[in-house]
Symmetry: C2
Subunit: 362 residues, 2 copies
Amino acid sequence: MNKIDPWGTELIEDYARLIKDFGLEPMEDFLSDFPKPNYLMRRGIVFAGQDLKQIADAIKEKKPFYCLTGMMPSSERIHFGTKTVIEMVKYFQEQKAKTFVLIADLESAATRGISLKEARERALNFYIPAYIALGLDPKKTIFYFQSENDQVKNLAYLFSQKITMNEFKAIYGEIHPSRILSALAQAGDILFPQLEEKMPGVIPVGIDQSPHIRLTRDIVRRTKSEFNFFLPSATYHKFVPALDGSNKMSKSNPNSFISIPENPIDSGKKMSKALTGGRNTIEEQKKLGGIPEKCMVFEMYKQHLIEDDKKLQKIFDDCKKGKLLCKEDKENAVNLMILFQQDFQKKLDKAKKTRKQWKFFK
Amino acid sequence: MNKIDPWGTELIEDYARLIKDFGLEPMEDFLSDFPKPNYLMRRGIVFAGQDLKQIADAIKEKKPFYCLTGMMPSSERIHFGTKTVIEMVKYFQEQKAKTFVLIADLESAATRGISLKEARERALNFYIPAYIALGLDPKKTIFYFQSENDQVKNLAYLFSQKITMNEFKAIYGEIHPSRILSALAQAGDILFPQLEEKMPGVIPVGIDQSPHIRLTRDIVRRTKSEFNFFLPSATYHKFVPALDGSNKMSKSNPNSFISIPENPIDSGKKMSKALTGGRNTIEEQKKLGGIPEKCMVFEMYKQHLIEDDKKLQKIFDDCKKGKLLCKEDKENAVNLMILFQQDFQKKLDKAKKTRKQWKFFK
C-alpha cells in the first residue's frame, strides 16, 4: 500500500494504484457531471477526487457549497502546484462556490520562524494579490488569518478527542506534536465554513495532502452527533514534474524548479534546459518521432502553459511524427514561460490595487 | 521515581520524596520570605513550590507579578482542593498579584461534552461567583474563556514545535492527542499574561498538576530567543484527604467526598461518618489519647475548617491527651462543616450580585 506523506518529497508515479489503494474516485468518471470541466480536469492533471457527486449536484441544483484553500506565507514565491490548486478554486468559484482562503500565519510562525506580523505583511503584499492574479475573484473570496480564527482553533481542540495516537501514526507515519496540532487545525479549517451554514465543500489539493482529507473525513464520521458536518469533498492533482526529470518540482532542487513569479529571462533559461523526450540524434528523431509522454516541456504545456486542447494536441502529434524537434519546441516553451511570467507580473500589480475589495473573516 | 499523572487518581503519600525527586522547593524554607503566610503555607498543606523567590522578591520590591488559575465548568460543584487553590490565589491577590482566571470551556466541551454555551452559563451562574465567594476580589480579577482567547491558542500552536513525542511521554506517561492539545493550551494559559507585560507569575496547583508546570518551564527555556518569558513559579498543595481514609477525596467515591456547595445537613452527616484517629474503646482513648495525625476530621480542620492556629493546636493537644473524644469532636466538626456550607451559600448569593464588576479579557 502506498504511504503518502504530506510533509515529504517523494514522487508518486502510479496514480491508478493510488486511486485503488485509497478508494478515490477517478476524475474521468465525473467529467460529464461537472459543467464545462477545465483543462486540468479534462486532461487528468486533476486525476481523482472524493465525494465529487455532492459537489456536482450542488452546482446542478444551485444549492450552496463552498471551496477552501490556504496559503503559507513563508517566502514570496508560489509553486506551480499552487497554481493548479488556484485553477480549481477558480473553477468552483465560477460555479458559485463560497470561497474561503486561509492564511497559515500560525503555521509559518511555528515551522519557519516567521512572526505573525511578517506573515501578515507577506500575505497582504504578495500572496493574496498573487492568488487573485492566478484567477480568484477578489470580491467573492473570504480570506482569514489562522491566528485570528477562534472557530478553527476551537474545532481543532474538540477534534483532538476523536483521534488516537495510533490512528495519527497510521495516517501520517512518524508524528510530532506540532504535526498533530497542524493536522487538527487543518481539519478545523476544512470544516469551519459549515458552522455558519451546513453545506458540502470541496478542497482542491495535491495528492500529497490527501492524509489531511482522510483525517478530516474520519473526524466528520465521529462527530456526527455533535456537528453533523458534510463529509468534505476533494480534488487531487498530480505532482508538478521536475524540469530536469529528477523528481517532483521542489524548491530544494533549484534546477527542477521555476517559481511564480520568477525573472522571465531566468525562467525561460530554465525551460531551455529542461529534460525532453527527444531522441539521440536529429535524424533518429525525424525518423521515429519524439516521446512527449516523457518530455518535461510537454508536461509543462499540459499542466500549465497551454489551455487550448487543440494546440496541445497539435504539438503532441507533430512531435510524435518527428515534425516538431526539441530545439524549435523549446523556443516556443521559453516564449510561453516568459509570457506567463510577464502576464503574471502585470496581473499581480493590478491585483494589488483591489485591496479595498478584500473581505476578511474575523 | 514518582510518576505524577495529572489525569489520574492515585494518592501520593510521601511528599518529602516528591520534593527530592522533582527538585521542588519546600515551602517551610520560604516562609520568612513571604509577608504573613496564610494558614496553608504555615501548616505545610501548601508544602512546596518552584521559583518562589522571584515571587517573594516581587512582593517585597512592589514589582508587578501575576497569579493564574482556572476553572473547569463541568458540574456545579467545587472540590475542596479547589478551595485550597483559591485561598492561595487570594493570598497572592492580596499581595498585589495581577490575577487571571481562565474558564476552560473548550476543555469541558472536549472532555465532558458540555457545549460552549452551557459552559459559559455555568461559569457565569456558578463558578465565577463561587470563586468570588471563596475569596477572590471581583474587581481585581481578570476572567477569560479559553474559547475566546486567541493568544493562548496561538501560543499552544507555536509551543507544539518545541516538545517531542518522547518528551511528552516522559512527562505525562501515556498520551493522547487531546492531552497534547490540552497540555500545550495550559502552557499558553500560564504564559500569556507575559505577552502584555513581562513579569514573573505564580500558579497555585495541586501536586498532581505539576507535570503541566514542568512542561511549561521546559517550553520557556526553549523559547528564550523568541519570547524570553520568566519561568513560571508554582505552589503545590497536598491532596485533600478522603473522609473515609480510602484515597484522595474524589467525586468518583461519594463517601469520601463533600463538595462545595453541598446541602449543609448532608455534608454534616458525611463528616459524622468520617474516619478518625480514635482508639478501639473510650477507655483506651482516655488512657492513650487519640491519633490526630491519622484522623480525617482533624485533617479537614487543618486544611479547611479552622484557620486559627491556636484553636487547631488546642484540639490536637486535647485529642492527644485523651481529653477530647471523637464523639464530641465530631459534633464540633459537623457544626463547622454546616456553618461553612451555610456561609458559602450566603457569600455565593452575594457574589452573584457583583456581576457588573467582573472583567473579561478578550
